[in-house]
């Protein structure tokens, strides 16, 4: 069947059998090999991509469900050759062998879109579906925190003075909504893990 979708911001039309895995459609048909396969059963998260903004295991998504969707892969993170703050942060030990890195980046990206100042426990929960065998996750968690910090600082520098103040408060208290456009559009920071836990 013919599938129309946006991949990394570019409209694509792909001819593929409907039950081909999104992973294979990306890697083989579109030759976007940055997305990796580690287990093929949704356990390791190496194949994580964003499907309409949400992290999913592309090994569990049939191509037919990509119809009309917007997909972001690791290749879509850097803009005009410039690494994103998250990618930049992973240069310092977050990526060792690198095979889990694309999936890890996509899961972390999804988190940072919703929560600009995640605490360590929240980061660990957001990455729980991405296995890494090299790092013990320490430098990965650090990288996500660092990227959040850099992004907040950049956002604060861009905003007019009044909003800057709010961003500063958020940093101190950690309770304000993150000063990010996307975060404002989406759910509050507490939606990751905590909100639902309130009994």
């Amino acid at each position: 069947m013919k599938i129309r979708c946006r991949v990394n911001g570019v409209s694509r039309e792909v001819e593929t059998p409907p039950m081909v895995r999104l992973l294979d459609m990306l890697r083989e048909t579109l030759r976007l090999t940055g997305t990796k396969e580690g287990c093929g059963e949704g356990e390791c998260g190496a194949c994580t991509v964003l499907l309409n903004g949400q992290p999913v295991n592309s090994c569990l998504v049939p191509a037919c469900h990509a119809e009309g969707a917007s997909i972001v892969t690791v290749e879509g993170l850097s803009k005009r050759g410039k690494l994103s703050p998250l990618q930049e942060a992973f240069l310092h030990g977050g990526a060792q062998c690198g095979i889990c890195t694309p999936g890890m980046l996509m899961a972390a990206q999804a988190l940072l879109q919703e929560n600009g100042a995640p605490k360590e426990a929240v980061i660990r929960e957001a990455l729980a579906g991405n296995l890494c065998r090299c790092t013990g996750y320490v430098k990965i968690v650090e990288a996500v925190r660092e990227a959040a910090k850099v992004t907040r600082a950049a956002a604060a520098a861009k905003k007019p003075a009044r909003k800057k103040k709010a961003a500063g408060k958020e940093k101190a208290g950690g309770k304000q909504k993150p000063a990010m456009k996307k975060a404002a559009r989406k759910k509050p920071a507490t939606s990751r893990g905590k909100r639902a836990r309130r009994a």
């Binding site: 059998p17 895995r21 759910k187 009994a199």
Partner: protein
């Protein structure tokens, strides 16, 4: 079976979906999120040739609360259920069960309907729904039927669904006043591991007595099961440790656990007792604090 050989069907209505399912017979499966189906196809546990994609059917993804029921459409993703304010209002323990069972990537794709229809004995959402007195609404070629959720499962990967019949929605009754629920699971690691045992409990209190109690379990029988014995032991009693202990022992006795990779039958029975106790304590504590 070749991935390329599948025929994909996109019905426009529930009735059409059922009709397709019936016509295509046992070689067809309904496609929801795909998180169960794709690994099955990969490991060739399945002889499917036709897939009926339910996503083209309108309305199956809705979550809504009316005066008597919380309706969760079969296509609502686990994330949508876990984050729904109506779910939080009605049965927060369902949300907790979902958050404990899988990572974001799976929650964003997997559906409540899929978690039920997979018929996996260790599935985490059925017990909490069963404990809450949930019903399932099934839609078929010859009309609809509604069953208590515990009657939906027949065995591992087997449900009551006839060819052409599908689970349209899960109906969770508005919970009684002064009631509380809890889902306790034990897995071999902190995240994204299948449950060794899961126990759900719902307790309603009135004047210091338990008026209603239901305990349901996963991974300890061929199907998610209701430990009916527990209700008899608990109802009419005070919510005290000694009563919970008796119910927990009864639950352990009622379980029909087998030994597998995750644990032996004996260990599972021990866990049923421990987790039932914890679930009852938490449910009762919540019932006590829940506004009437």
């Amino acid at each position: 079976m070749e991935i390329c050989d599948f025929a994909l069907h996109r019905p426009a209505s529930l009735a059409e979906a059922c009709e397709m399912g019936r016509m295509l017979g046992p070689g067809a499966r309904f496609l929801a999120g795909g998180t169960e189906l794709l690994p099955d196809l990969k490991q060739r546990r399945d002889v499917t040739r036709h897939l009926v994609d339910l996503r083209s059917v309108p309305g199956l993804r809705d979550i809504r609360l009316d005066s008597s029921y919380l309706h969760i459409g079969c296509l609502a993703t686990l994330s949508e259920v876990a984050e729904s304010s109506d779910v939080h209002k009605t049965l927060p323990a369902l949300s907790e069960a979902i958050l404990s069972m899988a990572a974001y990537q799976i929650r964003n794709r997997g559906t409540l309907g899929g978690n039920f229809c997979g018929g996996v004995p260790s599935a985490d959402t059925p017990p909490i729904c069963i404990a809450a007195g949930a019903q399932v609404r099934l839609a078929g070629v010859d009309g609809e039927r509604t069953l208590p959720a515990e009657q939906f499962f027949l065995g591992p990967r087997k449900t009551v669904l006839d060819p052409g019949e599908l689970l349209a929605e899960v109906l969770i009754p508005v919970q009684p006043a002064r009631s509380g629920s809890s889902y306790q699971r034990f897995a071999l690691r902190r995240a994204t591991a299948l449950a060794v045992v899961g126990v759900a409990a719902r307790v309603a209190l009135e004047k210091g007595r338990i008026t209603q109690a239901r305990v349901a379990m996963s991974a300890v029988a061929p199907v998610p099961m209701l430990a009916a014995e527990c209700s008899g032991i608990l109802e009419g009693q005070s919510p005290v440790e000694e009563v919970f202990e008796r119910a927990a022992k009864a639950a352990a006795l009622a379980s029909r656990a087998i030994s597998d990779l995750r644990g032996s039958a004996g260990y599972r029975r021990d866990l049923v007792r421990v987790l039932t106790l914890r679930a009852l304590r938490e449910a009762a504590a919540r019932a006590g604090t829940r506004p009437a």
